[in-house]
């Protein structure tokens, strides 16, 4: 038994991709420390108090769990392999989320920082474009509206083809 055996293989930590309760960023971040990881990047997507100029009361997130859970696991696993991460997790809220609360968190760690940043951005971009999760915005004036973040079809002509901000960054 070597000293290294004392540390879990952090990349394998298993986190539920969907969560109906408030996301515990602190607990998730505390899992991310790893003796081989020099860089930890956390992204939290939080609910703003306005959307396109209208005052937002709260959001409600609907997911199709059967596909969403598998897809988030696959996206995270792909990022771990591609950037040789020491650790990566992603977790998305379902249900009602209020202004200032976190709707989604992505944490990536790697020996050096370039990989942790790139993988983090890759994971959130793919989740936002592909994973069957939808937000409904409830405004303070009593109206509601289903959000439509992904408009790629207008540009690609194919609902299954997406344009990722991650790739756009790399092309600049």
């Amino acid at each position: 038994m070597t000293a290294l055996a004392l540390y879990p293989q952090a990349a394998e930590v298993n986190i539920e991709p969907l969560n109906a309760l408030p996301l515990n960023l602190v607990a998730l971040l505390s899992l991310a420390h790893h003796p081989k990881a020099g860089a930890v990047v956390l992204f939290s997507g939080e609910v703003r108090d306005n959307s396109l100029g209208k005052a937002v009361d709260y959001l409600e997130y609907e997911a199709y769990p059967a596909m969403a859970i598998k897809m988030i696991h696959a996206i995270v696993a792909e990022a771990i392999t591609r950037w040789q991460l020491t650790y990566a997790i992603a977790q998305h809220r379902t249900g009602i989320v209020k202004s200032g609360e976190s709707a989604v968190v992505v944490i990536t760690t790697s020996p050096h920082r370039t990989e942790a940043y790139a993988a983090n951005r890759y994971i959130i971009d793919r989740i936002k474009h592909e994973v069957p999760i939808w937000k409904c915005e409830y405004f303070t004036d009593g109206t509601k509206e289903w959000g439509g973040n992904c408009n790629c079809q207008k540009l690609t002509g194919d609902v299954n083809k997406h344009i990722y901000e991650f790739d756009q960054q790399n092309k600049l």
Binding site: C136, G148, Q153
Partner: protein, 77 residues
Amino acid sequence: MTIQTFAALKDYFSANFEVLENLNHITDLKTFLVQQNPNAEAVLNLSRFAVNDTFVDLDFEIKPNDSISIIPPSSGG
């Protein structure tokens, strides 16, 4: 075949329903649903189709017992 709809699509269709018509491909199902509810055409044009939880193209061949999910554009995050 059984159909599941989500999010904005539920303004036009039930969350779960059965289609008994004899439809061969996903594109036929889409045409059928537009006939049922012409107001849903725009959102159906933006939606992806999954058969047994795997995304498929419009020319995918449907079997009678397939479970089909219609997925409006993602808006997570």
